[in-house]
Amino acid sequence: MLYCCVFLGRFMGDMLDDSSVMARMQKKFWKTKQVLIKATGKKEDEYVVASDADLDAKLEFFRSVQSTCTELLKVIERYQQRITRLSQEENELGLFLHFQGEHDKTKAGNMMNATSKALCTSAKQRMALCAPLHRLHQEVETFRRRAIQDTLLTVTRMERARTEYRGALLWMKDVSQELDPDTYKQMEKFRKVQSQVRGTKTQFEKLKNDVCQKVDMLGASRCNMLSHSLCTYQVFYIWEF
């Protein structure tokens, strides 16, 4: 039994030595061809593309999550700046009216005093919005750095596997043109390509599944995060004004 294994191992080793360089070259060739097709925007096999439709839809959603999160971060930053500026201006106007009201003993002075109080309070309350906004900013930033980054990693790995798989399919299509199962040489080659397709397909499908699940999770957790963070913001906004 042991002998058998050793012998088989040696035999396989010899075979690999003989053909591995050639096989590697061919694998590289078809992969490069696929890369080229994609890079130059040449039309890909429509059925292969169609069979990935669900995956591509998920990827589109992922890109939208990615871009909208970055956009949201920018908007929050700008919003915070504006709120701070507005609050400052309000406060200054309040102080100015207060100062003027002190010197004015008429009814107008009273009104200026009252308005100044209202303005100063409003300025203070407006600043209070900054805390939940800051928290939201932090959470979105963490989401972008962790969750999106992690998904992006899987997407990149999946794309690599997809290129390998599509390259193998190109190769298979090529050897299928003149296939005759009764010719040993042809069959040997076909089996080699077949196992290459099977291997890359398994790898690709595993990663495809990973990507689909991760993107679904990403969407759900973003909803969760936003409804949670925006809740505190809303409470502030409604109750304080």
Binding site: D45, E46, Y47, V48, A50, S51, D52, L169, M172, K173, S176, Q177, L179, D180, P181, D182, T183, M187, F190, Q194, V197, R198, K201
Partner: protein
């Protein structure tokens, strides 16, 4: 000996194993591109080698499987009577088969898994109607109980072998009696 080439468009685990070594395998690996089977049969005292190409049903292999229709003498179009979607796909497969083969290729429609009557989704009459409409021979079989599997191939090979064997034996040439085994 003459060669008869048959391509089967197999969406489900079906006759290749059953027909070539009379075995039913409940778990069937997904076909990558194509699998081959071969069998010797005798018609009118003549030995004929039947080569069966079981092509992949997955969409991503569709452009690849198109090159396998070339030179086929007949096609078995197989659907699963317990899955309506496999029946619905027939039209596209039929189109492909007609478009990429020579015009005298005989096509046979087969509703497989007839042993699973309780889970049937496609009525036998529907299969018959589809076959009549498109000029196909029709039969329901069970690869599990082997009912009608021999008949499906027998009926089909009988009338059609004279035409294709003459055209194909020359082009393919080989003399391997053993044939491609999978």
């Amino acid at each position: 000996s003459a060669y008869v080439y048959m391509h089967t468009n197999i969406l489900i685990s079906f006759t290749l194993m059953q027909f070539t070594d009379k075995r039913f395998q409940p778990v069937h690996d997904l076909t990558i591109g194509v699998e081959f089977g071969a069998r010797m049969i005798t018609i009118d005292g003549k030995q004929i080698k039947l080569q069966i190409w079981d092509t992949a049903g997955q969409e991503s292999f569709r452009s690849i499987t198109r090159s396998y229709y070339r030179g086929a003498a007949g096609a078995l179009l197989v659907y699963d009577i317990t899955r309506r979607d496999t029946f619905n796909h027939l039209t596209t497969w039929l189109e492909d088969a007609r478009q990429h083969s020579n015009s005298n290729m005989v096509i046979m429609l087969i509703g497989n898994k007839s042993d699973l009557e309780s889970r049937r989704e496609v009525k036998k009459e529907e299969g018959e109607a589809f076959a009549r409409e498109h000029g196909l021979i029709f039969m329901e079989t069970s690869a599990k109980t082997a009912s009608n599997v021999e008949e499906a191939n027998g009926i089909k090979i009988g009338p059609q072998h004279p035409t294709p064997s003459s055209t194909l034996s020359g082009s393919q040439g080989g003399q391997h009696a053993g044939g491609g085994c999978c």
